[in-house]
């Protein structure tokens, strides 16, 4: 098991370095000179030249890359142009807001999907199945911001139980600030997973050991949740891992809908004000998080299905 975890981590290192290289060069494609952006329209040519010299912007690109890479390894992501502070500090302040949204969204989405998926599989072809699969198919087609906006209309305007702006303070409790975006995320995330759970369960329910378990006289609940769901978990883990990784895309949109100060909204704001170091930093942090989540997903596979651990093959 230790060897397996180590191999997963070593496998991820080139990806993380690749991510840094891609982001470094892509951000340099953004039109406009960072020096004049930083100093503003009133800066003189001499000031701009001095700034360029001081920040190494006159060096060849490969030298700049070397400097930036050394800083990156030390955990330095450069200075934010719009916050006048190290980009890392700004990102780390915002990260918990996104992490809790992602965590609770995927957690509640998964719980709902497991329940819905098992019910749909058990009542296959009858109305609970049709109802749940229809909702799931519809849920996969709804844009995330659309779900979010309607939640805002219903819960903030009509029912007045959540704030329109989901920042903490001003009489807004922790859970109130989370309710809207978590609900939107969970609804959206549960759609695909409900279908995965259903088809995985249907596949397993045909197996001989389920018939054996039933004929032994075990209760239906134990057969369903222990024997069937336990064996149906592998494809489900794949999709949960996948949603944890894509959830940051959803967070970008939902944090904008609910005006929540997470990294997603930070990134969108940074793009609008052309704060390149912050765009670069936020993107790298999110991408690295996803690589780490994928490592954890791979390790969970190894736990759920010991065969994978031996061969070291994915899926």
């Amino acid at each position: 098991m230790k060897k397996y975890i180590l191999s997963r981590v070593l496998f991820a290192l080139p990806t993380i370095i690749g991510v840094f290289i891609v982001v470094f060069f892509v951000v340099r494609l953004i039109p406009g000179d960072p020096a004049s952006a930083m100093l503003g329209p009133k800066a003189t040519t001499a000031q701009i030249e001095q700034y360029r010299e001081h920040h190494g912007l006159n060096e060849p690109v490969y030298v700049q890359f070397g400097v930036a890479f050394k800083k990156f390894i030390k955990g330095d992501l450069g200075q934010s142009l719009s916050w006048y502070r190290p980009a890392r500090d700004v990102i780390m302040e915002r990260l918990p807001r996104s992490a809790e949204l992602a965590f609770f969204g995927v957690l509640f989405g998964t719980i709902a999907a497991l329940i819905f998926g098992v019910i749909a599989a058990v009542y296959r072809g009858r109305w609970p199945d049709l109802l749940l699969t229809s909702f799931a198919t519809l849920g996969m087609s709804l844009p995330m911001f659309y779900i979010g906006l309607w939640i805002l209309v219903i819960f903030a305007m009509k029912l007045k139980i959540i704030p329109v702006i989901s920042t903490l303070g001003g009489g807004v409790s922790y859970w109130q600030s989370l309710l809207g975006p978590v609900l939107a995320l969970a609804l959206s995330e549960s759609a695909l997973l409900t279908r995965t759970t259903r088809s995985s369960m249907l596949e397993v329910l045909n197996e001989d050991y389920i018939r054996t378990a039933r004929s032994k006289g075990l209760t239906e609940r134990i057969v369903l949740f222990k024997h069937a769901l336990g064996n149906a978990l592998i494809p489900i883990v794949t999709v949960v891992g996948y949603s944890l990784a894509t959830v940051f895309g959803g967070a970008i949109v939902l944090e904008t809908v609910f005006a929540r100060n997470g990294v997603g909204k930070l990134l969108v704001d940074a793009i609008h004000v052309r704060d390149y170091p912050l765009v670069q930093g936020t993107t790298i942090v999110i991408a690295i998080l996803i690589v780490l989540i994928n490592i954890v997903t791979d390790i969970v596979y190894g736990v759920v299905d010991p065969r994978i651990r031996v061969t070291g093959e994915e899926r």
Binding site: G18, V22, M140, S141, L142, F145, I252, I271
Partner: protein, 275 residues
């Protein structure tokens, strides 16, 4: 063909998409007003017999804008998916057929791309390239490349060792010929399934980028832009964003159903589980 029409997902999904295409093609015949005519005294009118879907913040007819928006959104999505198919399947087939170092290098690049959520990749590419209609097809298309790469590579790996490929090799067919003549026809049906799901993803991406204010520039109406213009008035005049969002969802639903149906159709093994 007959059995294809007996699949209800293909029929429902296909009908929705054909309807949307007809709406886009015959836009001028379906709209009583110009999509760009500003009529400020008439702003934020709720749906009525004159304006079936109400008017937006500049008094423009929402139905007209949605109908013309279908043209832009479908055009952007089709072009984006075309880019993704060309690059994804080209590199996927090469990686799957040549294997070895080529496969390792290509697959690593795809791994790196997949470390970014698709929307994030679109956002930073959009920030670099600038928002124009042409650029938008690129930055919506690029994040879809891994999807097509993986499918083409998988199918190619699977059939690369079959006897008829070996036979083609032994009679001295060139690599290019084998890839074009023998492998591509096997990859295409799978591409078709992914194409449908990819179209859904592209439409959602256009909408999300538009919502974030990084979509098609004014004044061309795209669904993403209409959603964005209406979002601040969601409490007082929800029809602008409400109706445009519903059109987005319906179109994506159509592509998803079609994709599901095609997958069942091409892979009957799974059929008993899904229906």
């Amino acid at each position: 063909m007959k059995s294809m029409l007996s699949n209800k997902f293909i029929v429902i999904g296909g009908t929705i998409i054909v309807l949307m295409l007809l709406i886009a093609i015959f836009a001028p015949l379906l709209t009583p007003y110009e999509y760009g005519t500003v009529n400020l005294p008439n702003k934020h009118q709720p749906p009525s017999s004159e304006h079936v879907m109400g008017t937006d913040l500049y008094g423009r007819d929402v139905w007209c804008r949605i109908v013309y928006g279908a043209r832009i959104s479908l055009y952007v999505s089709f072009s984006a998916v075309a880019i993704a198919i060309i690059f994804g399947s080209f590199f996927g087939i090469i990686a799957g057929y040549l294997k070895g170092v080529v496969d390792i290098v290509f697959s690593r690049v795809i791994d790196i791309m997949m470390a970014f959520p698709p929307l994030l990749l679109s956002l930073i590419l959009g920030a670099c390239l600038g928002t124009s209609l042409q650029n938008m097809t690129i930055y919506i298309g690029v994040p879809l490349i891994p999807m097509f790469f993986r499918v083409s590579r998988g199918v190619t790996l699977n059939i690369g060792e079959r006897t008829y490929i070996m036979a083609a090799k032994s009679i001295g067919s060139s690599r290019l010929r084998i890839m074009m003549k023998h492998i591509l026809p096997n990859v295409l049906p799978q591409i078709f399934v992914v194409l449908s799901l990819g179209m859904g993803g592209a439409i959602l991406a256009e909408a999300a980028l538009g919502f974030l204010g990084l979509g098609v520039p004014q004044p061309t109406p795209s669904w993403g832009l209409i959603v964005n213009e209406g979002k601040l008035y969601m409490f007082s005049a929800p029809w602008t964003t409400g109706f445009s969002g519903a059109f987005i969802a319906l179109t994506v639903l159509g592509f998803n159903l079609l994709g599901d149906g095609l997958r069942d159709f091409l892979d009957p093994k799974l059929k008993h589980l899904e229906s």
